[in-house]
């Protein structure tokens, strides 16, 4: 992955997830951060910190981003969600507008 094609998502505990920009931009919130000119520091550094999203949840969200891309390209599999994660995941999804 070339650096300019990636973005670093940082969880509440400080774990870093380096993923493709395309994947991250499945989230409307992240898309806005990365594309609005000059207004976010995130745009320049390609890093976004989520102080309210735990590592477990952020990992699940990254998986969802890639699953969504696959789905859009025609590979329509099921996205499994562990029941114990649902509520927290939902709040994050709400925030990330995804």
């Amino acid at each position: 992955m070339r650096k300019e094609e990636t973005v670093k998502l940082i969880s509440a505990e400080g774990f870093e997830f380096v993923i493709h920009k395309d994947a991250a931009m499945v989230s409307q919130t992240i898309r806005n951060m990365l594309t609005s000119p000059g207004s976010f520091a995130e745009t320049e550094h390609g890093e976004v910190t989520f102080p309210e999203i735990s590592t477990t949840i952020l990992e699940k969200i990254c998986k969802y981003f890639y699953w969504n891309l696959q789905y859009a390209s025609g590979k329509q599999t099921e996205f499994h969600i562990e029941p114990e994660l649902v509520l927290e995941l939902m709040m994050a999804a709400n925030y990330l507008h995804t």
Binding site: L89, M90, M91
Partner: protein, 579 residues
């Protein structure tokens, strides 16, 4: 976290809509109306705009609905999320009295439980726990009783309440909601227990904007309690046949009224005199009232009036109808099923703002139509069952904004239809008349914008179907004159915009016809009754995934075979015959 919450609180209400332009009458049966409105649900996987897979939010909500029994409470969630969960549970029919308990103290804003099965007083405690967050509540069709309404007194912010078809609510219950002074919308349709006595509770609801008491037969004398409700903009007392002239008096001071529906009451010309001061009134529905043209004296004072419905006012004759000339602002005028003749149409000449005119079943003929030539804004003209013939149509050829004409059961013949060929805005055309044939259709091929074409009783044959190829935008088509065979269907099979197709009464159609239309995947409603279709032809319908209604009466088709097809291939089919 939290994010923006998207709320949608606009109640569907087709009653006050002005149906300008294309009318909904293109369907033979009123019942197919719902085919294009309710029962449609966006499939989660196909969210418009997103163009991708289901959102994570939707997946989570779906997961919760699957495992709903595992959750005791949602009160820790932000309200916009719990709101989405309950909306989905209601929509999918998965909500029960037990799972509803999980929504206690969720500060929900909207609860649309209208027509939801099993809702009764036991649900009221959880509803009440939403407290002052609750803004909108729909309990129509529920078994909630007067006692259940006691619970609403804590929901002091309620703005909209709907108790349509609640047979267990009476005057006593109204007392319990009289303190909800934030209410702006209140609806109690078809309630025979509400009387003038109970309506005294309405007097406190000073913020009321919209009140709906349609089909409440015992409310005579109760409208006096509305006198102080000066914010009222819309009042529906349709089908309350107890309403008479005396009931109009208390309305005289409600000067903010914009929409008043008093159809099918006993109100006469005298009662209408009380409405003179309603200077904001834009819609007045007097359908089926015993009024005469004398009421036009009072109504001409209403300078905001745009929509006037006098249909089925059987006392309305030509006498006094010169007063119609004072209604130059009107956009919609319905005089259908009245006793007026061509003599009345002379006085409509100056109504140049008219966009819709209904003369259904009036005794008007070709001579009368000359008076319509100046109505350049006319979009919708209803002439069904009049004496209009081919000679009259020349008066319509200059009405270039016409979008909809109904000429069913008139004496118009093929030779007259040429006069319509320049009406390039036409979208809907009803030519359901036996004397119309292929020749008439040939004259209309320039009308390429047509979306609805009704040739129900016309004698169209296979060679006439050739002309249908011009109407590529057709969404509904009815040809039921008996003259079609499978060969004619070849010219229909490429009309890919079709959602409604009625080919019944063409008794020579076979399974081959179904094979030919199997590519019309947009079809929502299909009728091929009275034909030679058999069970083995049904397999051709497998591709019609959008089909909601299928009618194959008097064919060699069994209900059981349709049911099988429904299970395996037609998930959206909700209505079929034989059943």
């Amino acid at each position: 976290m939290g994010g923006a919450c998207s709320r949608k609180r606009d109640h569907r209400d087709d009653e006050d809509d002005f149906h300008l332009g294309v009318s909904r009458r293109y369907c033979k049966s009123g019942s197919s109306k719902w085919l294009t409105t309710s029962f449609t649900r966006p499939v989660l996987d196909n969210q418009p705009g997103r163009g991708k897979g289901p959102s994570l939010m939707d997946l989570c909500i779906r997961k919760i609905c699957e495992d709903i029994d595992k959750y005791n409470t949602f009160s820790m969630l932000p309200r916009d999320i719990s709101q989405q969960i309950i909306n989905e549970l209601v929509y999918s029919g998965c909500l029960t009295d037990v799972s509803f308990e999980g929504f206690r103290d969720c500060a929900l804003q909207d609860l649309y439980l209208g027509e939801y099965p099993g809702v009764n007083d036991c649900w009221m405690d959880v509803i009440s726990s939403q407290g002052s967050s609750l803004l909108s509540l729909d309990l129509s069709g529920s078994d909630v009783t007067d006692n259940g309404l006691i619970f609403l007194k804590d929901c002091t912010s309620l703005q909209a309440l709907n108790f349509n078809y609640c047979d267990h609510i009476s005057d006593h219950g109204l007392g319990h909601i009289s303190g909800l002074s934030s209410l702006t919308n209140l609806s109690f349709r078809r309630n025979s227990a509400i009387t003038a006595h109970g309506m005294s509770a309405f007097a406190n609801l000073i913020n009321l904007i919209k009140l709906d008491l349609e089909k409440c037969p015992e409310i005579h004398g109760g409208l006096v309690h509305l006198q102080g409700l000066t914010k009222l903009e819309s009042l529906n007392i349709k089908w309350c046949n107890c309403i008479d002239d005396a009931d109009m008096k208390p309305l005289s001071g409600l000067t903010n009224l914009k929409c008043l529906q008093v159809s099918c009451s006993k109100v006469t010309d005298f009662g209408i005199t009380y409405l003179k001061g309603l200077h904001k009134l834009s819609l007045l529905n007097l359908e089926g009232c015993p009024v005469t043209a004398a009421c036009l004296d009072s109504l001409s004072a209403l300078d905001a009036l745009l929509y006037l419905n006098l249909s089925r006012c059987h006392h309305l004759t030509d006498e006094g109808c010169e007063k119609f000339s004072r209604f130059g602002n009107l956009k919609v005028l319905n005089l259908g099923f009245t006793d007026i003749t061509d003599a009345c149409l002379v006085h409509l000449k100056g109504l140049t703002n008219l966009e819709s005119l209904n003369l259904d079943s009036c005794r008007i003929g070709d001579e009368g139509l000359v008076n319509l030539t100046g109505l350049q804004h006319l979009k919708c003209l209803e002439l069904s069952e009049t004496e209009v013939g081919s000679n009259g149509l020349r008066h319509l050829s200059g009405l270039i904004n016409l979008e909809s004409i109904n000429l069913s059961f008139t004496v118009v013949t093929d030779s007259g239809l040429r006069k319509l060929s320049g009406l390039s805005s036409l979208k809907s055309l009803n030519l359901d008349a036996r004397q119309i044939t292929d020749t008439g259709l040939a004259a209309l091929t320039s009308l390429t914008g047509l979306t609805h074409l009704d040739l129900f009783g016309a004698r169209i044959t296979d060679s006439g179907t050739h002309y249908l190829r011009s109407f590529k935008n057709l969404r509904s088509l009815e040809i039921c004159g008996g003259g079609l065979t499978d060969a004619g269907i070849k010219n229909i099979k490429d009309l890919s915009s079709l959602t409604l197709l009625n080919l019944s009464q063409n008794c020579n159609l076979t399974d081959k016809a179904l094979e030919l239309i199997s590519g019309l995947t947009g079809l929502i409603s299909l009728n091929v009754s009275n034909s030679r279709i058999t069970n083995s032809g049904l397999r051709h319908l497998k591709t019609l995934k959008n089909l909601k209604s299928l009618t194959l009466e008097s064919c060699k088709v069994t209900a059981n075979e349709i049911r099988k097809l429904q299970l395996t291939d037609l998930p959206n089919l909700v209505s079929f015959r034989p059943e």
